[in-house]
Symmetry: D2
Subunit: 340 residues, 4 copies
Amino acid sequence: MAGKIRTGIIGLGRIGQIHLANLLFHTHNAEVVIASDISPKAHDYARDMGVKQVTADAAEVIRHPEVDAVIICAPTPQHVPYTIEAANAGKHVFCEKPLDVSLPSIRSAAEAVEKNGVKLMLGFNRRFDPNFARVRSLVSNNTIGDPHILRITSRDPAPPPLEYVKVSGGLFLDMSIHDFDMARFITGSEVKEVFVKGDALIDPQIRQYHDIDTAVIVLTFENGAIGVIDNSRKAVYGYDQRLEIFGSKGMAKAENNTPDNVIVHNNETVQTALPLHFFLERYEKAYRIGMQAFLDCIENDSPSPVGAHDGLMATAIGLAAGLSLKENRLVKLDEILNGD
Amino acid sequence: MAGKIRTGIIGLGRIGQIHLANLLFHTHNAEVVIASDISPKAHDYARDMGVKQVTADAAEVIRHPEVDAVIICAPTPQHVPYTIEAANAGKHVFCEKPLDVSLPSIRSAAEAVEKNGVKLMLGFNRRFDPNFARVRSLVSNNTIGDPHILRITSRDPAPPPLEYVKVSGGLFLDMSIHDFDMARFITGSEVKEVFVKGDALIDPQIRQYHDIDTAVIVLTFENGAIGVIDNSRKAVYGYDQRLEIFGSKGMAKAENNTPDNVIVHNNETVQTALPLHFFLERYEKAYRIGMQAFLDCIENDSPSPVGAHDGLMATAIGLAAGLSLKENRLVKLDEILNGD
Amino acid sequence: MAGKIRTGIIGLGRIGQIHLANLLFHTHNAEVVIASDISPKAHDYARDMGVKQVTADAAEVIRHPEVDAVIICAPTPQHVPYTIEAANAGKHVFCEKPLDVSLPSIRSAAEAVEKNGVKLMLGFNRRFDPNFARVRSLVSNNTIGDPHILRITSRDPAPPPLEYVKVSGGLFLDMSIHDFDMARFITGSEVKEVFVKGDALIDPQIRQYHDIDTAVIVLTFENGAIGVIDNSRKAVYGYDQRLEIFGSKGMAKAENNTPDNVIVHNNETVQTALPLHFFLERYEKAYRIGMQAFLDCIENDSPSPVGAHDGLMATAIGLAAGLSLKENRLVKLDEILNGD
Amino acid sequence: MAGKIRTGIIGLGRIGQIHLANLLFHTHNAEVVIASDISPKAHDYARDMGVKQVTADAAEVIRHPEVDAVIICAPTPQHVPYTIEAANAGKHVFCEKPLDVSLPSIRSAAEAVEKNGVKLMLGFNRRFDPNFARVRSLVSNNTIGDPHILRITSRDPAPPPLEYVKVSGGLFLDMSIHDFDMARFITGSEVKEVFVKGDALIDPQIRQYHDIDTAVIVLTFENGAIGVIDNSRKAVYGYDQRLEIFGSKGMAKAENNTPDNVIVHNNETVQTALPLHFFLERYEKAYRIGMQAFLDCIENDSPSPVGAHDGLMATAIGLAAGLSLKENRLVKLDEILNGD
């Protein structure tokens, strides 16, 4: 591919703005041709950042003749329709997670992408976090040996508003889905079974939406490893994002990042900094590196680092988790994958 | 109680020798009157350490008129018979874990202890480890708030010989039983349900003894908390003994102890020490503090810090874990407690 | 000040490029009107980045009617002439360190700045490093109490080429000068006395340029504190930038930053990451925050956070250090300040 | 040497009691024949611990026909007389530090020891601390390469009573002397020069005794390394005992030890434990290992690990430090060694 990759962004919410800034300032082979959002305020924002063309119509981005790649940051229900439309228009697609909450819908997007020979990359940005990418490399280069036990801790600093919870798809598809993808990424293996214990320990009100805010999720993998994820919607000390892989040759763990490395001693205790507050701070680099990876897979015509299959499996694990919670039993992933 | 507490030890294996040294050198209100072991070599050892009377007959220790308290370090099948005999002889009892692998048997020991008004303390030494005791205090003084998630990592540096595995009672009753007690100790709550995924990932040979060497165990507690224990028989980097409690007001975690606090930088990496090798090193202080706690509960006529109920519950959780593994399902503890 | 601050950059070497990128992408109230460099390649670079006007003539930048502030990244001998010229043209000045190696010359720049009522900020970027800024705040808000002992460790990953050493002004004015500024910044006090022990332990060849590569520097401060800096031109494990302040109420120390927070355990050791390689990585954020601070002091007409006096004192301490090394004795700063 | 080494202790103050307990309980080839102290209370203590013979007369210990080795824990002025007396009686000697504050006096003790062919070991217990011993081994096995910079931080939790300060011999001979020995131990090199800056920053009252409570001490070594020690009589956060050696191949540092490894997170900060309170806790193991090393050098007829020369040099550095402070100049050690 000669020259810069010409991109168009759909949706300029919090995540869309991150991707816009990364495309403009932190990647070396992209330009932004057009951006769409339904809010006029977002148009001003985009123009201020230097985007020449703005529109309220997503279709205009997808059909724009000078756009090579579409960045989809619209709400989840539009992910699959826009992906299919863009693929059919011959455009590469970067789409925020989750691709969808329905497996048939994901499969239809996957087919459109394959049929049209375009790249699809999903926004599982955490794979590009330097800590987690390093742990993955220690597994893939066999430093850790055969993986036996995986532990992921993923806790948010505060629960979202109840309004959001209602439409979020639930803890597993909204929050844990990142951890499901991470589990597959770190072990390099597919999930076989899912078992969940969860409850609303932080805010009992969310029970009315059939949701939970605290969960422990056990996964078994095809390579024999056993994994456990613990999730909470509220860690008062901040965004807690750690993991550990234990294998036949050793163990690697990723600790939290902090805003500084200062250690303070007084007559009562020794104090260090809390973790970086939330995902914008914690995954600032991951967002940049991930977007560069998307551009590079287009430029080099190499496989997408996070494709449709990854989206399918993460959603399937989420659906299995929901079923396990509901029926209080171990759920085989095949029940979900073959069930639709 | 005036004067020193006069003790007699049954069994001078590895653990018996630790308790002997602690009684002689590291506690301030005990003397050792007599010690028994079937091995003549152990007799020499005891005499060298300054024990005046040695015997091959455990009954001699139990019936010795000058013995106030009996320390039982014999093999597990003798724990309950000796405990009952000693209790009936009016002697206080310190007994190594597990008290037994059968709940009715444990209950009979508990009854004998209660009937005779003597103290029974079980050797769940880890409760006295400074790290874990500190975490417990942070829970009991409400620094952590309501407990939501408990994580225990407990991995041995190397599996025991197959000969031992055969008679060990299995991973859950031999190794995880410490973690079951720790889970109850840290949360201050009883276990309601148990779910296990486990496998023989280190040495497939142990499958012939219907045992496993790797496990992830989910526990739910009466106070609403959810716990997860991960066990391995072989961590190549040493004895890995960590835990973390996450609650509504914060989180506390206990990291491993190391032989030194030296940090080495070279042109490739930054290196620190491996964890202390195994339980003798890691729990050296815990053994001392625990034995002192036993002596003190006798001297002050205060409740035993780890009594028969604790032994019963740890064994019950172990039996539930075994059933969960066998039937691949969640097991309610009541199935076990009411089932015998 | 209404609108964006219009800047011009002189010098597009390694540091000039950092400042250019920060002005373009990481500050919110600047634009870059013009950039100068003697190399045509640098012109291409600037145009690629989006700078519309480029020139080989620094004077064009200084005299440009649309330039409010000049960023001087030219070689040290030009710092003072350009600063004076810019000040006389009514332009604010950001100038890289050191302002100069001669105190009278620095004083002449200071006078020009004061006479013309413009801002001068020196590029002591480390003051804006989140670690060191946090330690400073702990001193200034009295968390640490009265400062008693200051320790600064400042070691480069590799010595510069001998060609550079020849013209560098020597270890103290080239490298330690950052630490001298840091010492004043952290303690909030002026240096009274300097004592140095130093040697060429890494490369004896630099002795021919009367320079050293290893030094321990003792400073006494007007507030009674005693400080010690240790410098090396070659830490094989990377860029080592730490400090510690010990006072009557406590102690705070800043540790190194690393590219990741992964901890790897194998059967031999526990490994963590080396420090970030060198100043570009380590002080990436400090450069950004520092440039923003310069823009903000212009916008708010507030005092420069690092002014001419700071440049004067850092150079004076450097000259005192050189004299101490030469004469193997304690040197009072007044000897230097009053000696010219 | 056949059988156990028969020891006698002179002085049962705080340190004497530590050595007594170690000889009785934590070493494997010693017995304690007799102990002396002027206080009757100390006699009771010794008898309680199991010492059969007690006396108020130190000479009785030295002359006791069944004593092979004398442990001298009397006040400093008696160190040399008792050492000489014991050596002349053919007894091995373990003597607390400092051997003396006068170099001729130390030399006379050294001569007596050599003439009589007995072992003399000085109580520089910190050499046997696992942290510092490990750092030393990294220097001696060339992991660190040629030593360039040594940093020792040694701060007490609280100053001693003024009554003690009066007779202590001053900061350098009372407190820093341990650090002087450590500096020689870690670098494996002799000190050439000493430069001191110090003041009474904690309690100005001690100036009336011509003493200080805060010091920064620069040492140069014969192998080219440069060292710096910082001392304070009062670190409000506890006993701060760290060091770092930087060399051509890497760097090793020893951090403080803590009573536990628990990390607590709340909504404001992350907290860990303060360092172990003071030398009894911090150097508990060092005292044991050191006493065993003394017994072993007797049993194996190997050289004392800390001999008279070590005592001489530590005192000489202390005297040089005092002169440097007084005259505010660099002092060559030869001025001290050749000056008496």
